[in-house]
């Protein structure tokens, strides 16, 4: 069976609430069938608006959304057949778990035995069999969450939307729910559009991540690519930790360029979004890509002064004053070779120019 690569298609979608500010600008996004795609971004970046347009609670100001090749702007939410998990679960508080799950089936006029069967199946999928007669108020946060997931899937929709579903759970529960949702997605192959502002959630669960900022998709790629190869400084900042140097490109070539920093030093970097000499740029470097006192040969070698040492168990975070950046973070793995890390010491820091990405200036 060939997969439908544009099962959901946002085609030049704009959205404005007040006619003055665009919350979503010229959004083009294709979502393949069976994919788990995450919309990630800070609050106010337009990701939830996109989800609401897809669900039918908001209409695009311009452009069209296609679901399985059909335009859906004029279809009301209840006819779209899209499952949805809401931020605060939105379980019906006056109905039992069974009635909550049976609701979408009853409005679809299923027979009683079929409803029973489907509810049973959905509840066992989220391992909540036997909870049929509980009221939502009698369940813990995690259990309510699972009921909400089961309810969104019980009527076998092809597409499920999840709007920050784990936001209200504590850290441990959130992590285990992440895996649970991921496994459910894998086992039933439903298409999932997931909205979150939590990057670790996005990285663990998704096939692809669309990073939103300012109403635009900044980058759409797989989690590893997003982390390793951010295409602009917003993405580099937003995903994971990041050390930055502001400077100007001096020596541009195809593979690498030299960047003259504000204090006069020159570093070698990987040109991503700079075109020519004289361009302003922000160089981004992941903390774990810089090594201290290494014997490996690398093309950037500098000395920095240790400002702060924070012990994290498996690794130690070191804050350095390096090339005028007092917030330079290093992650040193916890092994005996690195015992001389003490506050005030000078140490050698090196990295490969390939990992130092020269992006757009902030």
């Amino acid at each position: 069976m060939s997969k439908n690569l544009d099962f959901v298609k946002f085609d030049k979608v704009d959205k404005s609430y007040d006619g003055k500010v665009l919350v979503v600008k010229d959004l083009n996004l294709d979502i393949a069938e069976g994919e788990f795609i995450t919309m990630l971004g800070p609050s106010g970046s337009g990701k939830t608006t996109c989800l609401m347009m897809l669900a039918g609670f908001e209409t695009p100001t311009n452009g069209e959304i296609y679901l399985d090749k059909n335009p859906i702007s004029n279809i009301p939410p209840h006819k779209r057949g899209i499952g949805m998990v809401f931020q605060n679960y939105a379980l019906f508080p006056h109905m039992t778990v069974y009635e909550n799950l049976a609701f979408p089936l009853k409005v679809r006029k299923f027979e009683k035995d079929e409803i029973d069967k489907k509810v049973d199946k959905a509840l066992s999928m989220v391992s909540l069999s036997g909870f049929e007669n509980r009221m939502p108020g009698q369940l813990s946060g995690g259990q309510q969450q699972r009921v909400a997931v089961a309810r969104s899937l019980v009527f076998d929709p092809q597409l499920v939307l999840m709007d920050e579903p784990l936001g209200a759970l504590d850290k441990n529960l959130r992590e285990s729910m992440q895996y649970e949702i991921k496994h459910i997605h894998e086992s039933i192959g439903v298409t999932v559009v997931y909205v979150t502002h939590d990057q670790s959630e996005a990285l663990t669960m998704s096939n692809r991540i669309a990073v939103f900022n300012d109403g635009k998709v900044q980058q759409l790629s797989s989690p590893d690519k997003l982390y390793e190869e951010p295409v602009n400084s917003f993405v580099a900042e937003f995903i994971g930790e990041n050390n930055t140097f502001a400077g100007q490109v001096t020596n541009m070539s195809t593979k690498e360029c030299k960047v003259k920093l504000n204090d006069g030093t020159e570093i070698v970097a990987n040109p991503i979004s700079v075109k020519s000499n004289g361009d302003k740029t922000t160089v981004s470097l992941r903390p774990e890509r810089a090594l201290i006192n290494t014997k490996e040969k690398m093309d950037n070698n500098f000395k920095g002064k240790i400002e702060e040492v924070i012990y994290h168990g498996d690794h130690t975070r070191v804050r350095l004053d390096l090339l005028g950046n007092k917030e330079f973070i290093l992650k040193v793995p916890n092994s005996s070779a690195n015992m001389d890390i003490k506050m005030g010491n000078q140490i050698n820091v090196s990295w490969n120019s390939h990992d130092a990405r020269a992006l757009d200036p902030k």
């Binding site: 609670f57 779209r80 949805m84 605060n88 379980l91 019906f92 409005v107 009527f155």
Partner: protein, 417 residues
């Protein structure tokens, strides 16, 4: 004792419970002192007057106290034939005492209530009793008037023996105790109170219904509109609340009278002819309109406070799961507003059932309620015990409604705000 060993002791060896009580005592006293003024206030202004009302409504001591000897000697009398000499004698003694104190007029009024015809025979007795000789009072009294030889009159006196009576309550529902002591209804053309009770219930019911129908959309709008509009709307709802009840009722009188604004408008758009203007005031219509408007905020506010807590995502969830907007409303939103509906309806109904000023001003003859009747007896006939009895019946009715409501919906489900 085995329980002694189970007690937990503090480090100082005092039982934990004792120690806890000691520690909490100060707070308890403080809390009590804080509520004490209110408690006292309620006691004086609420509990005591209601108790007094209850006493007044059943109090029938007046005659009991006026004829103490008579009633004592009547205890042995079976009431079948004329009472023995002993009764006549004590009645004569009691009566003479009243005549001396010039209270015999009151007695004759009271006994006349019980049975017509007492007034004249008591007057005659008073005149003749001056010349009574000692002994054989039975003969002498019966000689005054033939009615004194009628056992019915003596039975009527006996009926007034108890210090307490239920007759005011029976009168409140157009019933009375007849001469055989049976409870019967008054003749059909003299039944006023039952009609009033039914009308009160009917008007309270329909006012509640109208309030509910109008308040539900308003409350929903209030709960869902953005802040700046909802505040304005809230003020519109509350504005009448801040206006004097009398002013509001009076303005309805201006609007609804036959030459009033509403009628003028109807004539202008040609809905009614100028010489055939409908009467919208001094009848039920006026009462309905004015009371609905005045009681509306009492329905809006509880509904609003409940609707405010219903997350909009619930309706969205209902729709996204495939429910049409109506199904989502009916199955999801509406059931969640029931606590507010209950609170609002109860509030409006109870207020409406005892409403006074508005029906008094715009109700006319066909739009007055039981409370107007109570006021009438308080102010005009001065039959306070009857007014008290009806007031208590109203109170009992309200409590009964509350009880039924509690059985049906559950008071825990009420949310007043």
């Amino acid at each position: 004792m085995s329980s002694e060993t189970g007690k937990i002791l503090t480090t100082d060896g005092i039982p934990l419970e004792v120690s806890l009580k000691k520690a909490e005592r100060k707070n308890k006293i403080k809390a009590f002192l804080l509520v004490a003024p209110l408690l006292l206030f309620l006691l004086i202004t609420y509990i005591f007057p209601i108790g007094d009302m209850l006493m007044r409504s059943v109090d029938d001591k007046m005659v009991t106290e006026m004829l103490p000897k008579t009633f004592k000697s009547m205890e042995k009398w079976d009431g079948k034939e004329l009472p023995p000499e002993e009764v006549f004698e004590s009645f004569y003694l009691d009566f003479q005492k009243l005549v001396e104190e010039k209270r015999d007029g009151k007695l004759s009024t009271q006994l006349n209530y019980t049975k017509n015809g007492f007034k004249s025979i008591l007057k005659k007795l008073r005149r003749k009793a001056k010349n009574f000789e000692e002994g054989n009072y039975k003969e002498q009294i019966m000689a005054v008037h033939k009615r004194w030889a009628d056992v019915e009159y003596w039975r009527a006196i006996q009926r007034r023996a108890p210090a307490y009576t239920s007759q005011k309550y029976l009168k409140g529902i157009d019933m009375y105790k007849n001469e055989e002591g049976k409870i019967v209804s008054v003749e059909e053309d003299r039944r006023v109170h039952r009609i009033l009770w039914l009308r009160t219930l009917e008007i309270a019911f329909f006012v509640t219904l109208l309030c509910f129908l109008m308040a539900y959309p308003i409350a929903h709008l209030l709960a869902t509109l953005p802040m700046k509009y909802s505040n304005l709307l809230m003020i519109c709802v509350l504005l009448p609340f801040w206006t004097s009840l009398l002013v509001r009722t009076a303005s309805w009188m201006i609007l609804l009278q036959q030459q009033g604004v509403v009628n003028d408008f109807f004539v202008m758009i040609g809905l009614v002819a100028d010489d055939n203007r409908p009467e919208m005031m001094f009848n039920k219509t006026g009462t309905y309109v004015a009371m609905t408007q005045i009681l509306l905020p009492f329905m809006v506010l509880p509904l609003y406070s409940v609707m405010k807590t219903i997350s909009p995502s619930l309706m969205r969830a209902g729709k996204s799961l495939g429910g049409t907007p109506f199904v989502a409303f009916w199955k999801v939103y509406f059931p969640l507003t029931i606590p507010g509906i209950g609170a609002g309806c109860l509030l409006v109904f109870i207020l409406a059932i005892g409403y006074y000023i508005t029906p008094a001003l715009v109700g006319g003859a066909s739009g007055t309620l039981i409370s107007n009747q109570i006021a009438f007896h308080m102010k005009s006939t001065l039959d306070w015990s009857f007014a008290s009895a009806m007031g208590l019946m109203l109170l009992a009715g309200v409590l009964a409604i509350y009880w039924v409501y509690n059985k049906l919906v559950g008071v825990d489900n009420i949310k007043l705000g």
